[in-house]
């Protein structure tokens, strides 16, 4: 079984790596000090298991899980017991290890990982924040479902636990994730150009190097998303 370790603390990575080393057939292929580097790796490599810290700067373990379309088995590693209930809302999480992790407890977690299969394309979170109806998107703001005309959306930006939805006429702050709204928006019109931004391709004014201008917003385009953006353009 191949695994990766994501933890911002080098000491923790070394310990988890040693715990893995003590188990036959479990191979650590990579270690990452942050989730962003791990996402890049997972775009090009398959792994069977991820050891994931929850407390990391900028991008928490749960933020990371939300970015994965088909997450592999995940074992959370943390010094905090407060997230145990939240953890089990995710089908992909097979166990929750509290640091310092003993070899005995670690072995049990690996046994659980070995026996658990993950549903393909499972929806990670039961909470549905947006619903769609034809060309409309309904967003839940202060317990009201507000209708947004999808083609009028020109930009969606992730900001922590919220997303900003910018339209021709109004902007909305919604408690949701970029991944959830991406699933609701037609991919013929919208494109994720950066981990924090989805744009309406029809609304692009110009493109310069690694950024696009939409209305008055200059949006960064990540290197990995640039080829897809260029494919969408009707280039002369």
């Amino acid at each position: 079984m191949n695994c990766i370790i994501i933890d911002d603390e080098a000491t923790a990575r070394a310990i988890i790596s040693q715990l893995c080393h003590n188990i036959e057939g479990l191979k650590v292929t990579e270690e990452f000090p942050n989730a962003i580097q791990a996402i890049k790796y997972l775009n090009q490599n398959d792994v069977d298991l991820i050891f994931l810290d929850i407390h990391m700067p900028d991008f928490t373990g749960f933020d990371f899980i939300e970015t994965l379309k088909n997450p592999p088995r995940i074992i959370l590693t943390t010094s905090d017991t407060n997230f145990a209930i939240q953890a089990f809302e995710y089908d992909c999480i097979v166990d929750y290890l509290v640091k310092p992790i003993s070899q005995e407890r670690f072995d049990k977690a690996i046994q659980k990982a070995n026996s658990k299969s993950i549903p393909v394309s499972s929806n990670n979170n039961s909470e549905k924040v947006e619903t769609t109806s034809g060309n409309d998107l309904y967003v839940n703001i202060d317990r009201r479902l507000i209708k947004i005309d999808i083609p009028s959306i020109y930009l969606v930006e992730a900001k922590g636990d919220y997303i900003y939805v910018k339209t021709e006429s109004q902007n909305y702050t919604v408690h949701s994730t970029l991944k959830k709204i991406e699933e609701k928006l037609p991919n013929t019109l919208f494109l994720k150009v950066h981990r924090s931004f989805i744009i309406n391709v029809d609304k692009i004014i110009d493109i310069e190097d690694n950024s696009v201008l939409i209305k008055k917003d200059v949006i960064p385009v990540s290197r990995s998303n640039r080829p897809e953006l260029m494919k969408r353009l009707n280039l002369l």
Binding site: E9, L19, H55, P100, S102
Partner: protein
Amino acid sequence: MNYIKSLSGDDKSFEEKLFAIIKSEFPTEQQIYLNHIEAQNYQLTAEIVHKLKHKISILGLEKSYKIAVEFENNLLDESTELQEEFESILLIITNFLKQL
């Protein structure tokens, strides 16, 4: 230290590697702690105490670990109670790492 021994299974190279990592990582985290507490940013101080308490636990300082847990909770309540005790623990670890 029992914890580290139990992981290493007498693998001296792992023990040396782990102590080298702790020796390199601990002073940086200690400095981050000092910066945040001086700036009275209790949320960020709690975050770095959270990280430091893992090192306290793997070094087998059980009583100190309990103090660190309480101090982290105090910081989240914007209280610096147990600051002096926590900083004594950091000093103990600093002196211990110097001897390695």
